[in-house]
Symmetry: D3
Subunit: 319 residues, 6 copies
């Protein structure tokens, strides 16, 4: 039986399903009797619920962050869906399909990673090739690299998003390196593949996507640099100039100090990496924003960060 | 006999060559005798000269902006080349090869334009195709479009630079439109080809590249919009929505209000146009800046506008 | 019988009145029974309402955007007025007085327009005079020009606001052109009258004031330029230099690129236009903000856009 | 009997206590019956309450801003505490301990002020010494100076906060003046002690902390300058150069024009004052923000003004 | 005999004239012999000179800042005028017409001041009227007020410039106060007349225009406030609210903190003052910039502060 | 015999001294004869010279960057000192006292370093103590750490400047950590001592102070992080949380992203480090700027970066 996701709930139905218990709060009614409000979540969104009966018993079964099996009636409260929860029970993590709770790329992760390895396999520069042989041989790294999201909110914010974003950029980098003469294709490609590796530790992405302590204290640029530093020491004879140029690509990929890069791009390859990253992130971000918008009319709601409405296409009446 | 360009002058030699008389100034020595200082230019640069003898006669032969035939000795004054001019005579414009006085693209203009026409010829959208048929049939437009520079100083600042920049962007646009699903390839391509057409009237580029009055008062974005407006009215049945979207690409192609776009990009095609334009301009601009730098060491001088030094490659001693 | 406006509703009364059905939403109570929440609006504001009985029947009578005849009890819900709607019926647009639903200038539109025509009638410059003869002879243009608001929210945001704002500026322009020597009075006046004509198409203002697709994609500066371009072509012998200067006034009237002007003002007339526009908009905007504020004390609430409180005068206890 | 503060209320209990009646609103239920909602406050926070019975009588006993004696049941409404008020009576201000209603420094005001006087007593500069003798002899000034808060919200926002902030800065100034050679210790100290005196009139701090009309119209920098000006005229023979330098410290202490200083710091003493002020304000502000945060985990919520989360220490599970 | 100004010097002539000795420097030639370079100035500009003979004697006659009688030959050195000074003698200040050395308004100072007094004489508000009676009765103040420039460089940078600028603004204020209903004409006028009084002490303007120490340390906004403060104390019964509002106009007249105003304008009168000041300053500044430009063509050189070229009118060939 | 420094040269004297040959250029006179211009430097400044005789021989003796023994006559050319060089010979580096060519701290480096070691020796935290034991035992590190300047231009731009700046900050940190409760003194001190270690590799400081390739590509923040990373791996059992907090101090010490910090300070210790660094750098920078200014009057010339004049004290005539 397929899972009924939060986004699919219909007022008037009853459900019998597993969710993440995101928040809970025990309160009291005017008559002094307790009631429990809960927030239940899965990868499709979250919904509030309330427990009116057997409140103390149900409140004790699970803590915030646990998975819970919920039986409830789906109602509405002032125009918003609300569950009236009849019963709730804790479910061990190993019985839960994590994929139900974190959105994931719709692409084939294995194939994407193979494609990326193929690109590094064709590198002419023996030092860079050796560097990637080391990275790809590090199983813990590969496991995290192919699972991490590319961001918490802004773009590719789902399991596998880092790989999807990186591969899309790598394909663009190949085209663009072929378009302009004098571009060091291997250096550009290496920069693309490594620019966001720090996201692996900047973010946690087991039950939900959020920043780690290390991420908030150091940023993915600085973490990624340490990760690269460590691997570089293991490649015998890696030329120092090349090491500086590769590190420069990572630390400059946000394009300007005000966006978190300690130095702006100072080589053609670093300049290209910055534009390819911005273009791919922006395209993904805007397409997701438009795709998620269910409002009528030709325009999305105002996008606070990008400070504009986006055009979704002519309204029906305009055709 | 090939022309001896300003950039090729050698101290100690004598020259007998045609230049543009960019500036001249009549002054007097302490002993009361007059002397004439001149600035002579061609596409490779400019050099100062001085006339010590027959000053009045020589001063009368030509005005600023004229072409002049110059006989002179090449000397140095405190480490800079300086011509000691023996004689000077005005040369009619029709006897001069304009190509010597304005730098031009090194690419084949005819082939570049054929390539561009081929791209518009493959458009699926009949309205856009019809629009470009109109543009390409307008001989005065094509003459200017294939001759204009893309800027006064910043990038592709030479005859044919607009076409070179546009074609480079068009090729990138084809690749990128193929890379992302859901992109309107014809609309993107149309935006690319028309985004800078206003440069044709924003700049003058007969003897030197400079802004026109119209250019300074209106900007190429606004001029280009008028040019498109005029042609759109001649395409029967051009859909209004499409006209708005195409105009939007032109007016938003600088990416943000602070860079002169009255509106920021609000469609995927406009977003892509902005990134492709920035990337192609920046790559050309930095490569020209590095190419022109003759200083020793690994770094260019500080670039005031981009606020950084650029890396030119390891110094010899580093290898 | 005069209409009872939203702003005049009193808790405890019953009403029997026509409103615009701005929003509606069908929801369900905990017991599974449906209820309908609605937002009703007229030019004075909006109020929420709820339908508890005969919900399905009433929900079917009208769609968002329709005018509806409403019978209701006026109550309060946690300190805010709320209608308990007994019945609702759709009203055809032609039976409704549009003036009840869009705020309008309190000035006499006819007289304001006569005053403006008188000002253009006294122009000395035959070309500019001819241009305005054309504009005033265009009935569709005049109908829109005398009806359009000057903005969606910020200032003169009501029917006739564009004309009111323009006339106020024109009177100031007359004074100021007389105050400074060397100002081209006719050019300044022409710029004032045309600076915001693009608002006619940037905004829609039939049932509510909002942006059009064209407005969001192109901005009123660009639209106004096209409108002027079209008329200029119909004036025989309009001097090109003058055309550029007039267009320059329109595109530079926001004063700086970051505010949407592709070029900053480069003539005295364009500089004056920018200041007159800013001053008149700001004065109107602040006066409306102060006038609408019903709070006690000497200060308005914090104005988020202008980032300050405004002083309303000494509190009573201070006198 | 000690007061029960808002922050100590427990759901399920009954209270019999004095609060400030911050807001009140008379509304009507669907059945037409009135009810009264109130906001009650003391220095620890505020809580909402509702009166269901004897509404008219209770509504008449007090106005906003009065102190009221309240008998109520502490309940919860959707997870937030809410009082069900049984009865309420006005309490004359003189029967109330003001300290219960405005948070105050936890330090000993008398000792802090003695410490400050000791510092000015050790000044070598006779003019500055004479100036402070005047200030300390002005009883109304001293009363306000030792009672005023240092800000409405940001830092040291409690009774005595100005003195606490000033003394902390004065101690730092002593250390730093001893650390760097060539610093005029007396001038620096004088600047520190006077930099925020304008707060005395910029803010009101009798029942709550808020801006005065004078404060909003003139700012504490300008008010403080007038206060200093007045006292300076009473010190015979105060050297004009010194007066300018001391005034300069007051007007430049925000460090830059964009933060409200008409001139930036142009002497070493003014530079030091700016850093000492920023450091002491920031440390206090962040420590208060962290101390007030009751959320779990290693991080505070996002701080909108300072645009970051602050680290509170490792989560328990990290240890 | 009329003075020969620096701007009127012609190469090849001899002069016998009084200048300000702005700079001088004693140097040595390769042969060890001394020579003296000098900079000579009057209100029309400055010119360099050199003394080859009797160097020691001539060097001793005057110090920088003295007026000197100069006999010299006007020559050119690399295209710039240069005096070969034959002799030089110090001239006592009282024998010099100061008007030759500081540019001054071309308007009649007496008439301008009468016009201003007439405006304050018509004030309805007795307190403001009394305030100006005090100001106008202060002879030292009036002497400085009618002599001060309005700025060092930017606009009205000449003797009498403050009065000229203030009167121009006052006339505009009258018009504008009549145009908008609800504007306090007397308050606006008072703000206009007093907004820049601090310039009297911010600048020195005896032999040249420069900042005073007080000016650099405190700014004219702060100085002007002190001047007003002092006078306000002498007006019996001046209402405190009115004093705050008037002071507010002075401190907010730059419109925003980043331009040196501790608070932004918060009343209609303060808003109007800011616009009138900006408009009058900008118009004067641009007109002076255009008037001083002697280059050919339609455009001024690039204005670094205002970041644009200004249009001077069509080039002759365009007509 | 003590060296005669550039700053001590007197016109009319002859010299016989060693300088750094900073630049040289071979040019030709009008008569075709060659001459050589040179720039000679030591730690006190630089001076231009010219060789008129035996030009070819002298030009061949040394390259730019060599030390040269120079015999010359000190003359002046248009008011600036200029050497007429009679002879020049290359001097091997080992015969030169480097201290003559790079400015150095006036403090005792050995004592400063002992003081710093004493501070780390008193650390309570065993992990941080162990970390510094490792750093201090690394002789190459200590040699560089005690020799490096703190900047190229801005502050402490001399040999030993990094140590001087760091020690000054460490002493301040001790005071401030004692002043505020709850500050981790050892963590703050560790951050202070390590915040700029990357300068050791960001700059080169053998013959002159300039950026290295690594410095321009990576910045001292990123380099310092790598250096710390390497040492941290060698401290057994260094707690990960502490490592993150210490790294955070290094990367956030510029206070904001726009100044090159990938993250802003998020702990009290990081906030304090940022203020202590800014204060110490600014004080040193302004004091050096004032000390170097030899102009008359009360004010330094305009400081372009800090955008103001600094006050040097009253002019003599004011006393």
């Amino acid at each position: 039986m397929t899972k009924c996701f939060v986004a699919e709930l219909v007022a008037g139905s009853t459900i019998d399903e597993v969710f993440l218990l995101a928040k809970r709060n025990l309160a009291h009614k005017k008559d002094g009797n307790p009631f429990l409000t809960v927030t239940l979540a899965d990868r499709s969104g979250q919904v509030n619920g309330v427990v009116w009966d057997q409140v103390e018993r149900i409140a004790a079964v699970a803590a915030e962050g646990d998975f819970v099996h919920v039986r409830a009636q789906v109602g509405e409260y002032r125009g918003t869906l609300q569950l009236v929860v009849k019963d709730m029970a804790r479910v061990p993590e190993e019985q839960v399909d994590a994929a139900d709770f974190l959105a994931a790329t719709v692409r084939d992760v294995g194939k994407m990673f193979e494609r990326l390895k193929e690109l590094t396999g064709r590198m002419q520069n023996p030092h860079l090739k050796a560097l990637f042989d080391l990275f790809w041989a590090d199983e813990a790294f590969v496991a995290a690299y192919t699972r991490a999201p590319a961001a918490k909110l802004m773009h590719h914010a789902y399991i596998g998003g880092l790989l999807e974003h990186t591969l899309s950029m790598a394909v663009l980098a190949e085209m663009i390196a072929g378009h302009y003469s004098g571009v060091d294709r291997d250096l550009l490609l290496a920069g693309v593949i490594l620019h966001d590796v720090g996201k692996i530790r900047e973010l946690e992405y087991t039950r939900r996507i959020d920043y780690t302590d290390e991420g908030r204290l150091l940023s993915h640029i600085v973490i990624g640099l340490s990760m690269l530093d460590e691997k570089l020491k293991q490649v015998p004879g890696f030329p120092q100039v090349q090491a500086h140029l590769l590190k420069h690509m990572i630390i400059s990929h946000h394009g300007a100090r005000e966006f978190g890069s300690p130095e702006p791009p100072k080589t053609i390859e670093a300049i290209l990496l910055n534009y390819i990253d911005e273009m791919d992130s922006r395209v993904n971000s805007v397409r997701e924003y438009v795709a998620k918008d269910t409002s009528e009319g030709s325009w999305t709601p105002y996008h606070r960060l990008l400070e504009r409405h986006f055009y979704k296409g002519p309204a029906e009446s305009d055709n």
